[in-house]
Symmetry: C2
């Protein structure tokens, strides 16, 4: 079933302790779409500037991602992020952010996108996320991401959104910030009280936790020593999860857990190279093989 | 099969954001022994001062812990630790440490303890740990714990010990300190290169990782919002793990993983109350029930 994602499309300049890559393709909607494309057809809505390289549109289209919702603003520049990872590869400093055309992004869904069963509102202002939601016709599942900026600066708008979505995906620090709870489990449960039927708390290298009615669980990250670039890991997780759900077309507890596992695994590939490079060289059979390893790892 | 533990026996004064408990029983060997006692007979070797309350000896003896290796130093005082947890219940400040009689502890094994198949060298100076090892007759499995102090101040002695033990249990930050690796997986693998056949890296609220030849895995912590006092969680983990191994009497990969799982679960109970209070009210059937929940949580 078709999966719609609305979010940022960006160029990133990323420094790790050993290497710098300039102006590589990134953004939440892009990482999400690539990850999801292993499982289901994806519809992307975003905005870029005149500096956008059309080869990137072609590359994403070739992955089964419908790019007809990508708006190109004449005279504008694409969202740009420049960051530098610390030697632990978990912490990072943002050196530059230029929102550019993303700053006043007013997403308009192509008519053909309005009927999308699965919808992911990637990180963005809750006001914008709500406007997207209002354009979608009877979706089966709407999941949103958010971040500390919106929790702090558009708190009421975010609370209003949370009453309208089925699921929320956010980082552990964000869950704590949103609820004032310092224990991750308590925070996850408290977020769920704000409206979503389920909440996924991402813990980076430690995996992800799931909270729903009468159900709390954690899935660890797939252990890897080979972390090249963690940028987009969270969006890749969401893409793997939502892509799997769209592929399966059902939302029972068992399918949701399998979707979480697929999110964890797809994210574990994303970090193995810069930008989309690992995904571009990734075969579905590698995901399936790692899934087998992961299942074995968690069985005793 | 009998399980020997040599380590600290202490009185702790513990403050959490909501409560303070003064002079409660603690210490690595005590937490370890209580956790292990659910699975196997335990032999404890440690030292206390004249302030030791003999009721505590009786309580531990009643759990199947052989306390005949507990030395009581006339005129001495028992190891005392005073700590305060931050509101996140993960970070803590040590307010006071008085090693007292533990400061020049020279463990001497009772003759009846020398033939112990399973041996745990709880956190202590690697010189002392080595002296214990020299008193043990052909053990089946020797596992040691260590800490940042010894990694920094008795580095060569620790490296010598690591060539003599089968397993090492340490925290993630300690594994990084010992190896200079900043990625946990890389650090765990590097520790193994120092000698032990297997290494367990404890990640606190995120669970524990296992490293052996051709095998790396992670088991998440059992999710709980009910963290009352994390003191001794790491020793409880080790006690659950070693106790299960001693109960099973075998060391194959499958048994080791089950032992890790039991360590995780037993530690999850330990944090639910101060000192040994949760263990004192814990029934083996509760561990078994949580094991079923944990297995279900990790299956998809």
């Amino acid at each position: 079933m078709p999966l719609l994602v609305v979010g940022s499309v960006a160029y990133d300049t990323i420094s790790t302790p050993t290497e710098t890559r300039e102006m590589v393709i990134g953004g939440s909607a892009v990482h999400f779409s690539m990850a999801a494309s292993f499982f289901a057809p994806v519809r992307l809505v975003g905005v870029v500037g005149e500096d956008w390289n059309e080869d990137h549109t072609s590359m994403l289209t070739a992955r089964g991602i419908d790019m007809s919702g990508l708006e190109k603003k004449p005279g504008g520049k694409t969202f740009f992020w420049k960051g530098k990872y610390h030697s632990n590869m978990n912490d990072r400093d943002t050196l530059e952010v230029h929102l550019n055309v993303f700053g006043d992004f007013q997403p308009t869904l192509p008519d053909s996108f309005k009927r999308s069963d699965y919808v992911f509102l990637a990180n963005g202002s809750p006001v914008t996320q709500m406007k997207v939601l209002e354009q979608v016709t009877s979706p089966k599942l709407v999941v949103a991401d958010t971040m500390d900026l919106w929790i702090r600066e558009q708190h009421d708008e975010l609370l209003a959104l949370l009453k309208r979505v089925d699921g929320l995906v956010l980082n552990d620090s964000e869950a704590k910030l949103l609820t004032g709870e310092e224990n991750i489990v308590a925070a996850g449960k408290a977020v769920r009280q704000l409206g979503p039927k389920f909440v996924v708390v991402k813990k980076g290298e430690h995996g992800a936790m799931f909270f729903a009615d009468h159900e709390t669980y954690v899935l660890p990250a797939f252990p890897t020593a080979d972390v090249v670039d963690p940028t987009g890991a969270g969006d890749s997780f969401a893409g793997g999860m939502m892509g799997y759900l769209a592929q399966e077309g059902k939302l029972d507890a068992e399918t949701l857990k399998k979707a979480m596992a697929h999110g964890v695994l797809v994210a574990s590939f994303n970090v193995e190279d810069f930008s989309l490079d690992r995904f571009r060289n990734l075969d579905k059979s590698e995901i399936d093989f790692r899934l087998t390893q992961y299942r074995k790892m968690l069985a005793f």
